[in-house]
């Protein structure tokens, strides 16, 4: 490792002000600080700063995503083999053949997402003469995890480009975006190319190669008023068709534990989101008009993108509400809206995506109202104390 550091240092002066590749400086520094501790020293103001900078925060989220990613890779292969064996195309494969098959499908998605997204980020940073931010490290991994595995790579690339440019860069880059970029990518793909994002053929790799595939998601089954062929244990462990990384509640919980333990994710949002989802689920259970409404409320929390969205996207500190009270309202409405959209409009099975995007937009208003209410309360208290 020492030699790599020396090598980087040797070429550093080329990228400094006045150097030959001065313009590419941000790219060099992004790469350097990704590998080593930044050498920037404070010159004025507070000299002791938290070691938890943006890079560490992002890295914690990436680590939290690893279990879901690995499981998603295996599940991609597993779903394929289940279908292919039933159709008599493939002999039953073991764990490793399933994992390797999944890797072959998912790895290109991750690579495309990072190459396109980081390419655009670097371009904007160099053009604006700013430092490259680490925000995309998380987004780049989130995007493949919330897409169906069969999505054509060019659509993935286009969605990533759209999300990074219009979801993020036009607002000023990392930390300035008002909507979650990963969900922007998914929403773009969902509305632009609905055929690749819904139906019963997209959730299992190579599903269109054989007949009699049953690659429908649980919400897909319910929307057609059919009964679900999976047990709650399948939903919990995640051996069901769905977007790459969203199926396993178990793996998401492991990641969530890390997020909450490190306080990168807000427990208020997660808890209130759960409450909102539970409450709406119970209300619809009582109503009970169709299969979607009769679906037990606690199972609603385990299917679709509910768990994944609540753990990794609703808690995104940039787009969520900032005040503590605001977080309660924000999380609760996400949970409640997600279940509501899912149940009342079966054309949009992914209620979670729409609920989070909607609440992203409303979050600043919630904060504003919370702060205003607090100011009013204190004003009243002051008047009272003056009178007394």
């Amino acid at each position: 490792m020492k030699s790599l550091h020396d090598l980087l240092k040797k070429y550093e002066k080329l990228f400094l002000t006045g150097g030959k590749y001065e313009k590419l400086g941000p790219a060099y520094r992004a790469f350097y600080t990704f590998l080593y501790t930044p050498e920037v020293v404070t010159e004025k103001g507070a000299h002791i700063r938290s070691s938890i900078d943006l890079k560490r925060v992002m890295f914690v989220v990436v680590m939290a995503l690893i279990p879901a990613t690995l499981f998603g890779i295996w599940n991609t292969g597993h779903q394929y083999y289940v279908q292919a064996v039933a159709a008599g195309i493939e002999p039953a494969g073991g764990f490793w053949s399933e994992f390797l098959f999944g890797l072959k499908k998912v790895l290109p998605m991750i690579i495309v997402s990072y190459v396109v997204g980081l390419g655009i980020e670097f371009y904007f940073a160099i053009k604006r003469g700013e430092e490259v931010n680490e925000g995309y490290l998380v987004t780049g991994l989130l995007i493949p995890l919330i897409m169906p595995v069969t999505i054509p790579l060019w659509i993935l690339a286009l969605s990533v480009a759209f999300a990074v440019i219009f979801g993020k860069e036009v607002f000023g880059g990392t930390g300035m975006n008002i909507v979650n970029p990963a969900l922007t990518a998914r929403a773009f793909a969902f509305f632009s190319y609905p055929a690749t994002m819904s139906g019963n053929l997209v959730w299992v790799a190579n599903a269109d190669h054989y007949d009699a595939v049953s690659g429908e998601t649980i919400l897909g089954y319910l929307a057609q008023n059919k009964s679900v062929p999976w047990s709650w244990w399948d939903m919990f462990t995640g051996t069901i068709p769905g977007s790459v990384g969203e199926t396993s509640v178990l793996m998401i919980l492991i990641g969530l534990a890390l997020l909450l333990f490190t306080k990168v994710g807000s427990w208020r949002i997660v808890l209130s989101g759960l409450l909102g989802g539970v409450l709406m689920g119970i209300l619809f259970n009582v109503w009970g008009e169709n299969a979607l409404m009769q679906f037990p409320w606690w199972q609603h929390l385990m299917v679709g993108g509910f768990a994944f969205g609540l753990a990794f996207m609703a808690t995104d500190p940039v787009t969520a509400a900032q005040t503590n009270k605001g977080k309660w309202i924000y999380g609760f409405l996400i949970g409640a809206l997600a279940i509501t959209i899912r149940v009342l409009n079966p054309a949009y099975p992914e209620g979670m995506m729409l609920a989070i995007l909607l609440m992203n937009v409303v979050a600043p208003t919630i904060d504003y109202l919370v702060v205003e209410a607090n100011a009013k309360k204190r004003m009243k208290r002051k008047i009272l104390s003056v009178k007394a």
Partner: protein
């Protein structure tokens, strides 16, 4: 307002003072009628005619209109012209008229028309007023046509309803972008045009 030359009056609204991208007026219909190129062109022409002639007529009458009821007078003129255009379209190109549906009638509410009457025709001579109307109509139409071009090309793969995206692209997995057909994407397209225009004309950027 300083006196401008006829040429400036006519061409300023095309780029430098474009009603959609600079004044941000008339966005609503720009989103609604730009799914296909043909209706967008017809709409652009209709607005040009309405703005041009209402400017001309109001400018001719400007010294006789009592200030208190000027809005009503302006509306009567605009409404008559819009009805004329509407009937003309129904008579000579019924299909396009059906596609545009209520949006021809809604030219009445297009802020550009009223805006130009108030801002220009009420205190300028007829000929410059007419040029100003035509120029603003053309500026509006230009953006409409650019937006419609991209929306039809990427949303339906056609231009003037002729397939222009070759079949082999579809065979290789290319798909039309369904979001281009939604108004949301029209708004983003307008946004991109504004972005491009402002990078080319830095003088348009507001001072901070």
């Amino acid at each position: 307002m300083a006196k401008k030359k006829a040429k400036e009056i006519l061409f300023d609204p095309l780029f430098e003072n474009n009603p959609i991208t600079v004044q941000v007026l008339g966005i609503c219909s720009a989103l609604a009628v730009t799914v296909k190129l043909m209706p967008a062109i017809v709409m652009a022409l209709s607005v040009m005619v309405v703005v041009g002639f209402s400017n001309l007529i109001i400018s001719l009458m400007r010294n006789y209109i009592p200030m208190r009821i000027r809005i009503i007078v302006q509306l009567v003129v605009i409404a008559s012209l819009v009805i004329l255009v509407d009937l003309f379209l129904k008579a000579f190109s019924y299909d396009v008229s059906k596609q545009l549906s209520v949006f021809v009638g809604l030219i009445i509410t297009n802020c550009i028309v009223m805006g130009r009457l108030e801002a220009f025709a009420m205190d300028n001579k007829p000929w410059p007023s007419f040029l100003d109307g035509i120029g603003n109509g053309a500026g509006y139409g230009l953006i409409l046509i650019i937006v419609a071009f991209f929306r039809e090309l990427f949303g339906s793969g056609t231009l003037f309803n002729h397939k222009v995206i070759p079949q082999w692209l579809y065979d290789h997995g290319y798909m039309d972008n369904g979001m281009m057909l939604m108004p949301a994407m029209a708004l983003i397209t307008v946004g991109v045009i504004i972005w491009v225009q402002r990078s080319l004309m830095p003088q348009l950027t507001e001072k901070e």
